[in-house]
Amino acid sequence: MQLAKGDWADAAIHTEGLVHRYGRHEALRGVDLTVPRGSLYALLGPNGAGKTTLMRILLGLLRPTAGQAWIGGRDATGLRPGDRHWLAYVAEGQDLPEWMTVDQLERYLAPLYPQWDYMLAAELRERFRLPGDQRIKRMSRGQKMKAALLAALAPRPEILVMDEPFTGMDALVKDELVHGLLDLAQEQSWTVFICSHDIGELEMLADWVGFLDRGRLILSEPMDVLRDRFRRVEVRMDRGPLVELDALPPTWLSPRRAGERVEFVTCDHGANGWEEEVKGQLLGSRSIELRQTSLREVFVALAAEGLGGRDWEREGGLG
């Protein structure tokens, strides 16, 4: 089914009320997600949040229990082999024909893609320093991932879905990959949908961020918006009655007290009357310090809230 024009026709990925259950376990609980075409979208979430399930549904490898998913404007459950010409998938632990050399792998895959770019493949092999005559099974984990990336990028896909592509790589290799990917994605206007626990790398890469917790997408927005509205806040308090952390507003994430200081991450920085609300909530505050948050801090704050049993569903997320 084609995505209706006028709704999300320009979205690379769009889901509505996506639900997936493994037996009694609900891995996805009504995910509504939109990934703009040409964006580098980083999907964050703790282990078991449902990231891989979501990706496998988008790739047509898994059927959703309920809801709908479109990728490249096509219904993800009805993808045809030809649709995989413009759709690439790289995942941690993905099977590769390891008995092949990289050269053989290229020769095996190239005829399947009408738009296979031999020049790009050669360039990637050089950039990734991949030996063409070495069997993949003899390669390191990082090299295997590079080989998988080469196989995924050489056909010049419009949408690249990556599930934990940096696992097992050292910092140098990660950096190479990130920059290589950034260059290519910008050159080619590819859409990259990526999930990883390497948040530092994602922060360099992504221009959109989503956070999935226990099967629910609790935020999805451009990176610059996220950077604007999330701040780490440190409030110095006069001696006085202890602050009840549980009574603080729900937009103040992971509050904790350390002596005279109260720290938290706020997700509504910039809203009108924000400072007054801090002062009102934290009576006896002497000073308020604001600091730019890293993506990692945002992730930790959100994940901690989730671990604490916060009911995002009732609150309608943070988006």
């Binding site: 490898l61 993905q94 099977d95 005829p111």
Partner: protein, 559 residues
């Protein structure tokens, strides 16, 4: 790339990957087709022994290599792995499946069939060649389909083997519970061809479903349900009167066994030693009751029946060892180490691998038995008493053993009649000069409905015999559980004891009509009833000389 082009693309890739295994397969096939197989020997009982003994070691290697190739080729591009390489690439699932089918058909079906054709032609016959090849292809294809289905739902070879063994064990347990002869391929009794077709279609459907939908979980559940339900469905819907062929059972469809070829031209035997009682062997009769002349990749069996007459007419236990020879001397499987608990003058049955084809080559079965060579070793028969009650130091009452003979099994519209003959011995002993204790033995048959039938009773020092017709329901199988109650009355009161454990199974779905069967029932060592069809029986009789090697000639053939 078109779908057809994808098929050949994947096929070429698989060939590039597995050409060493295919090359090895071709080598073994060549060796199997052209080298003599007369060094084969019996490796022990059961399926593996028969496989090794009947088909030879090469055949077994061949089978394993073929299973290995089938499993690996499927798992090379499997879908049961969460991250299968091909599934997120622009491969058409049906093209991948077709490529696998092409590979397996070409190298695991057409190639062995070619060698089979060569082997058949080497035997100098072209009669029914196409039919034989088609039959072999069907049977062999079914076996491959099962392997492929197992490989398709498992991640690796280890998983395939584990699931295969687990399935085999489960099937055996189920077959045992159903008390039905089971078949490795057909998973249960019933019309063979229909079941084969069912298994083949179901296995292929599972594979097609998995590749087509990529729904691994549902496929695995489907396979499980299929494995569990098949025997049950087969038991439920199998037509009565159809002959069920078990894995190691002989094909004995009336009219299909070419009687003239089943000639026992000579019977040679060495007398071996005398029994410890000193009794000599008076006579050995040998009968090839049934045999198979069909082509198959699994070894088939002939039922060899032996009867021993001792000079004093008393029981003996013997262990015949021998060889069957066919005219070409091509195969000479041994019947070695079959222990026989035969009573004097009673028939004992042996399933003898007469060798069909080395597995994989699908070479023709031996179609004639030229002579049987037997040697026997004799031990004194150990009488197994049913029960022994002692009264004092020397007084005792002993009963048994009981020998059962099924004289006939007759179908009626509503019931089944089993005519049984039972004989047993009771002995009383007493101190010198004293009266021996008087005991009574009652033999009671209990059928599945818990109805008990008194077969007879006797006491004192006697040899008793009784015949009884047991009415029973029309059933697929008829089971008679025997238990023996020994009531001993003496001046000191009545002692009662029950002895259980003997069980006779009579499969009544084997043939419609009346047929004969013999069975021996020594407590704790009771043989399963063996049904002789009586349709094709060749008898030869030989009188055993006191020394040297004797010989026997065919004296009678009857249908």
């Amino acid at each position: 790339m078109s779908r057809i082009a994808q098929v050949f693309h994947v096929f070429r890739k698989d060939l590039r990957r597995y050409w060493p295994l295919v090359g090895f397969l071709t080598l073994v096939l060549t060796a199997d087709a052209f080298l003599p197989a007369d060094q084969t020997r019996y490796f022990g009982g059961g399926a593996i022994g028969a496989m090794l003994g009947g088909a030879g070691l090469r055949g077994s290697i061949l089978t394993l290599v073929m299973i290995l190739i089938a499993a690996l080729v499927i798992q090379e591009d499997n879908v049961s792995h969460r991250s299968a390489f091909w599934s997120s690439r622009p491969f058409s699932p049906m093209a991948v499946l077709a490529a696998k089918g092409l590979f397996l058909s070409l190298f695991l079906l057409a190639l062995p069939l070619t060698f089979q054709a060569v082997a058949i032609l080497e035997f100098g016959t072209t009669d029914g060649l196409a039919g034989h090849l088609a039959q072999s292809a069907f049977f062999h294809g079914g076996l491959l389909a099962v392997v492929v289905a197992l490989a398709a739902v498992t991640r690796d070879l280890k998983g395939t083997l584990f699931l295969g063994l687990a399935g085999y064990a489960g099937k055996s347990v189920l077959g045992s519970l159903l008390r039905a002869p089971t078949n490795v391929i057909t998973l249960g009794p019933g019309p063979d061809v229909a079941v084969d077709i069912f298994v083949l279609v179901a296995a292929l459907s599972i594979i097609a479903f998995q590749y087509g939908t990529r729904r691994t979980r549902q496929t695995i559940w489907g396979l499980g349900v299929f494995l569990v339900l098949t025997p049950v469905l087969v038991m439920r819907f199998a037509d009565r009167g159809e002959r069920t062929t078990t894995f190691f059972e002989v094909h004995a469809l009336e009219g299909e066994v070419p009687v003239p070829e089943m000639v026992v031209q000579s019977l040679e035997f060495a007398p071996g030693k005398r029994s410890t009682r000193g009794a000599g062997i008076d006579r050995i009769d040998a009968v090839i009751a049934t045999a198979d002349t069909e082509l198959s990749i699994v070894p088939r069996m002939a039922t060899l029946e032996l009867r021993v007459q001792t000079t004093d007419g008393r029981d003996e236990r013997s262990t015949p060892r021998g060889r069957l020879y066919n005219p070409d001397q091509r195969y000479a499987p041994l019947i070695d180490g079959y222990e026989w608990l035969g009573g004097a003058g009673e028939w004992a049955h042996f399933d003898v691998p007469i060798l069909s084809a080395p597995a994989g080559t699908l070479a023709p079965t031996m179609n004639a038995i030229e002579r049987i060579q037997l040697s026997t070793e004799w031990d004194a028969f150990k009488r197994v008493p049913l029960g022994r009650l002692s009264f004092g130091e020397e007084d005792s009452f002993t009963a048994g053993p009981i020998r059962m003979r099924v004289q006939s099994v007759t179908y009626g519209e509503e019931e089944l009649e089993v005519a049984l003959e039972a004989t047993w011995v009771t002995e009383s002993r007493a101190r010198f000069g004293a009266e021996p204790p008087v005991g009574t033995i009652r033999v009671i048959a209990v059928n599945d409905d818990r109805k008990q039938y008194l077969l007879g009773s006797s006491g004192g020092n006697s040899r008793s015999s009784i015949s009884l017709v047991l009415p029973g329901p029309q059933a697929i199988k008829y089971s008679i559980n025997l238990r023996y109650r020994l009531d001993t009355e003496s001046g000191e009161g009545v002692a009662r004891d029950w002895f259980e454990g003997a069980e006779i199974l009579v499969y009544t779905n084997e043939y419609v009509g009346t047929f004969q069967s013999t069975m021996d029932s020594d407590l704790g060592d009771l043989a399963q009833a063996t049904i002789s069809p009586g349709a094709v029986v060749l008898e030869s009789a030989a009188r055993m000389p006191d020394s040297s090697v004797g010989s026997a000639r065919l004296v009678e053939a009857r249908r």
